[in-house]
Symmetry: C2
Subunit: 258 residues, 2 copies
């Protein structure tokens, strides 16, 4: 389901007190951001909220009405602080129920392992009525999909597996191509000229990323665009700009020495 001209947008909603307290450094956002970019879905916004139903409902409703897809991570485990299923249900005005297929899936798995299918474990079968499953090859308990919202686990290994399952089902748009050009000069040296290159290459978005090695700044210039040829043309202009700046600096240094 790919089109070369459409733009498909997405948002990520990461849920969890541990992300906001600094106890856990998020790894899921960066992973999904890379995957979405690779398949041609534009990630437009990320939010991180606490394990609070009100906060989740509000963020989810804001994001799902605005973007083609929303992906959530976290809060679908078996403990009392896992309230994502309830919050998503409330956001959609749907009852949150023990899904029959998920109960069977989990019940069979725990029976095979000789483990009790506790009340806590049964919580992992709860989802909004009518939700579709996202398979979980790591630990069985499924994620779920309601309309354009994909609800996935927070544990990185499970999140990655769920992303892998979900991506082939998504409508994708034109892939964003990118070309990177390394500049030995800092942004202050190149800024004005780079702005002129951007103005002359409006089919691309030219980003400038300063790097600091503890002593001096260099810059990575990233040109992004839907068409490879537009990116290449802009990259050529950036390279020519860097050569010119280098020569100007050399000439200035020679004058200083003379």
């Amino acid at each position: 389901m790919t089109s070369s001209s459409t733009i498909v947008t997405a948002a990520i909603l990461a849920i969890g007190d541990e992300l906001l307290s600094g106890r856990t450094r998020d790894r899921n956002i960066g992973h999904l951001a890379s995957v979405l970019t690779a398949v041609g879905i534009d990630l437009k916004e990320v939010r991180i909220v606490a394990d609070e139903e009100e906060a989740i409902v509000e963020a989810l409703n804001a994001l799902r009405s605005r973007y083609d897809y929303v992906f959530t991570s976290g809060g679908i485990g078996p403990t009392h602080d896992d309230i994502t299923a309830d919050a998503v249900s409330r956001a959609f005005g749907l009852p949150c129920e023990h899904d029959a297929a998920a109960m069977k899936l989990l019940g069979d798995m725990y029976a095979a392992r000789g483990l009790e299918f506790t009340e806590a474990r049964q919580r992992m079968a709860r989802m909004p009525r009518g939700a579709r499953h996202i398979p979980n090859p790591v630990s069985t308990a499924p994620g779920f999909i309601v309309e354009n919202v994909h609800v996935m686990a927070g544990v990185p290994q499970v999140f990655v597996a769920m992303v892998e399952a979900v991506v082939p089902t998504l409508r994708t748009g034109a892939t964003m191509h990118s070309v990177s050009v390394a500049s030995p000069f800092g942004e202050g040296d190149i800024g004005t000229a780079l702005g002129a290159v951007q103005a002359a290459h409006k089919a691309t978005a030219i980003g400038s990323y300063p790097k600091y090695d503890g002593k001096s700044f260099s810059t990575e210039i990233v040109i992004r665009g839907r068409a490879v040829e537009d990116c290449e043309a802009a990259a050529e202009a950036v390279r020519a700009m860097l050569v010119e700046i280098g020569e100007r600096k050399k000439a200035a240094a020679a004058i200083m020495e003379a």
Copy 2:
């Protein structure tokens, strides 16, 4: 300016296409989250938006009206894609101008280094009229403060230095204490009992964080609260719960073997 009973809240707004494309993995959010928690400021929400003025203005206005402090990262460099100063000015309805003190600071620095104070470099002196500076010991160009909004650089070394400068000036609330208890059992084994412990210790928030080592799940249980004694009491109850679960599992295994 510390009070032991007040709650002080904050949000982070990270700005940059590179964070949404997956090209750059954010390091600033986790750092500031840890620092805020340590000094007693509750980070309640994080948003990441693109280098788009409309998106920045909207997110900033939503966050600054809702939380005591907002901290932004990114978009205050010298290149055309650095539009945070303009966006913050627009959010506050203030003109965005070359700040005289910042012009002097930067002009002197470049003069001392024998570098031209280019139009691009002068962009780094732009800020909303009347903004106060956040010092930048790494590369001079200041961040700035307007009301409750602190605008900081995206380059991690500069961000960290600005955070260090800003934190002592903030109003802080009661520190959140936390006690961590390692559970060798997965969430499915402990979920129901842990929910009962949470219900009996309402002065604390008990978080449960599953870990997966590729074969089985264990859990880290984190008890957070404003009073150390509340956290300790809840931790004691959690430890007793784990002992009981362990004994029950041992008895069940013995029955299986018999």
